[in-house]
């Protein structure tokens, strides 16, 4: 167990952020099985129940892709390419296995590139559907059960329903505590900066659930005791929307101008923490529903509304609620190039949020700091515009 609650939570988050995966490496040395996964669709409850340590993989935005392009086309989304590049350069050489959820074409179509190149002992492609109707829930349960079975074969241990139920409780608790921390961003100025928050989020996704919970608990306690500065709430309050943004570089570009990042709709952030798994008699049912229906990713088709407006509300309504709760002045929609799921949503998201009176800056870019200089001008101009 990591020590926390003794005032070093932020320092610990900083450490796990800057040495990403170091804790998993330690746990591996201590005999744990480490399973890497990509995207918010990785069912961590099941991996936890299997006794493994789930590690969400990230790349390195300040490192150029040098090896990966020999294996993977540049039309694959830059996030996936960067993580792959990091993986073949050995950043994750301690992994026992990986699970790739069917999130998007960039992941689906490179499944064999990953598995053949990395050649890990355990490999699983989790074929998550894109639709949320009843048959899809049934199917999701089927493929989750298959996933459970392959994990059992790999670890040689049965994964009981009780173990899954326990893992569900642990992850729900982890989410609840993270939401508590998020609540500290509602003040003006927010008690916790966007950059700090990013480091905590990243650190959390690299830890086993108990350690993540302890870390976030500790950090929250520390931050709660901060004093709100009497002045200084002047910069605009920003929400960041996107998929896998897991580095402070862009946040520092935002906050460097005096603006404050107060909320996100990121797949490593609120998307992950805003919806719990319901404790159902068959625990797989609750997990299937959470990942397919509650997790608001652009990779699931939602067509429940009778009118288009209702459909939009179902897809993006939560963002409007964030804007109210966190008093957001402007939103930045950051989409990676070659990302079809997000790319096709841009006009809809933009007009949906703008119709509520919140300006949106849309950025399309690489997973890299090399283009940040150009982005900065846009971000700054946007902030000047809404100031």
């Amino acid at each position: 167990m990591t020590q926390s609650g003794n005032g070093n939570g932020l320092a610990l988050a900083e450490k796990y952020y800057s040495q990403y995966g170091s804790r998993a490496r330690e746990l591996k040395a201590a005999g744990k099985k480490i399973i890497g996964y990509l995207s918010a669709l990785g069912p961590v409850e099941i991996m936890t129940a299997a006794g493994a340590v789930p590690l969400r993989l990230k790349g390195n935005v300040s490192e150029a892709i040098t090896k990966g392009d020999a294996y993977m086309e540049t039309i694959v989304c830059p996030f996936v390419r960067n993580v792959f590049d990091a993986a073949i350069k050995g950043k994750y050489d301690f992994l026992d296995g990986m699970v790739l959820p069917h999130q998007c074409d960039s992941i689906d179509r490179t499944d064999d590139v990953w598995s053949d190149t990395l050649n890990l002992p355990y490999w699983h492609f989790l074929n998550v559907p894109h639709v949320t109707d009843e048959p899809s829930i049934e199917f999701m349960k089927d493929i989750l059960r298959l996933f459970i079975r392959t994990l059992e074969e790999f670890t040689g241990k049965k994964i009981s329903d009780e173990a899954i139920a326990q893992a569900v409780t642990a992850h729900n608790e982890n989410r609840r505590i993270m939401r508590e921390l998020y609540a500290l961003r509602k003040t003006d100025p927010p008690l916790v900066s966007g950059a700090e928050m990013m480091k905590i989020l990243v650190a959390a996704m690299s830890l086993p659930v108990d350690e993540s919970r302890a870390l976030v608990r500790g950090v929250t306690d520390e931050i709660k005791h901060r004093k709100l500065p009497s002045s200084g709430g002047k910069g605009p309050r920003i929400m960041l929307i996107g998929d896998q943004i897991d580095d402070v570089a862009i946040i520092e570009a935002i906050e460097g101008t005096g603006a404050k990042l107060v909320m996100d709709d990121l797949s490593i952030g609120s998307k992950m923490y805003w919806n719990d798994v319901e404790a159902t008699p068959d625990p797989v049912q609750g997990i299937a529903e959470r990942y397919l229906r509650k997790l608001k990713l652009p990779t699931t088709f939602v067509g429940t509304g009778n009118t288009y407006q209702e459909t939009l509300e179902a897809r993006f309504g939560h963002m409007k609620r964030y804007i109210e709760e966190f008093k957001v002045d402007g939103a930045i929609l950051f989409v990676y190039k070659f990302c079809d799921p997000y790319g096709f949503e841009v006009p809809a998201i933009k007009s949906f949020i703008e119709s509520a009176g919140t300006p949106v800056l849309y950025l399309e870019d690489e997973y890299s700091t090399s283009t940040l200089a150009r982005l900065k001008t846009r971000i700054e101009a946007f902030l000047e515009m809404i100031a």
Partner: protein, 262 residues
């Protein structure tokens, strides 16, 4: 004496080689400068002068390269891939992998024991990782192309170059300078970025020793060193790497003349 003329009219440079019975007799190199037709004539005249010959002494002319279609006096046209393969095979028969760094494209070519290309890949659609990239950076640094190699070898801490775009390379170079980076370190950084792009191509065609670097880029000792480091294996460079394709063209011409092929 049978003389064959090989012309490589590249987007950057025009090269002429005259071979006599399968042996290099003379050569010339000239910037193409946009006028491929004129450059082809001028570089031919230069090579003829160097060999003390007139055009009537040439039994066969083979042209290759980006602007080769402009050469109205050629008997035959060959692709630069085939010419690089033939040229390098003549110089170094053991070479199985050729890396050509030209002005616009970089290529990786696999060559068989008969000097024929069996597989090749090019960087496409983007001029990143090509000689152009370097030219642009050199211009910003106010140094001549010939100085790039020697200067970059004095680098102590290469600047991490993240931009792949030849045009934006310019602004990245500018900001690096503004940050106080030394020209040598910038060049070494560019070399490193280019080398990793080039080596990706090589990985894809499959590296088979021996490996040679050709084209104008091979004259750049810094780039060659970076490629070696990235490949983790040594490479061969000819004395005049830039004329490899022209040499290959001349050799193809000589062969065709010998076998009476039209």
């Amino acid at each position: 004496m049978a003389h064959a003329l090989g012309l490589d009219i590249g987007s950057g440079y025009s090269k002429a080689v005259i071979c006599e019975n399968g042996v290099l007799h003379s050569f010339a190199v000239l910037p193409s400068g946009g006028d491929y037709k004129g450059a082809a004539r001028r570089v031919t005249d230069m090579a003829l002068q160097g060999a003390n010959l007139s055009f009537n002494d040439i039994v066969r002319t083979v042209a290759t390269g980006y602007g080769s279609s402009m050469v109205d006096f050629a008997d035959h046209f060959a692709t630069d891939i085939a010419c690089h393969a033939a040229g390098i095979h003549h110089l170094f028969p053991l070479v199985r992998t050729v890396i050509d760094v030209g002005a616009q494209f970089s290529k990786a070519i696999r060559v068989d024991e008969a000097g024929r290309a069996t597989y090749f890949l090019l960087n496409e659609k983007c001029a990143g990782g090509s000689g152009k990239f370097l030219q642009i950076v050199a211009r910003i640094l106010h140094i001549t192309i010939d100085d790039i190699g020697p200067l970059s070898l004095t680098a102590t801490k290469p600047v991490e170059f993240t931009t792949a775009c030849a045009v934006f390379a310019e602004s990245e170079a500018v900001s690096r300078i503004a940050e106080g980076a030394l020209p040598a370190d910038i060049l070494a950084g560019v070399h490193k970025a280019m080398a990793s792009k080039i080596v990706n191509l090589v990985t894809r065609v499959g590296l088979m020793p021996d490996c040679a670097v050709t084209g104008g880029g091979a004259k750049d000792a810094g780039l060659v060193k970076a490629i070696e480091a990235e490949l983790a294996s040594p490479v061969t460079v000819a004395d005049e790497p830039q004329i490899t394709a022209a040499l290959g063209a001349a050799l193809i011409g000589a062969e065709q003349a010998a076998t009476g092929k039209r």
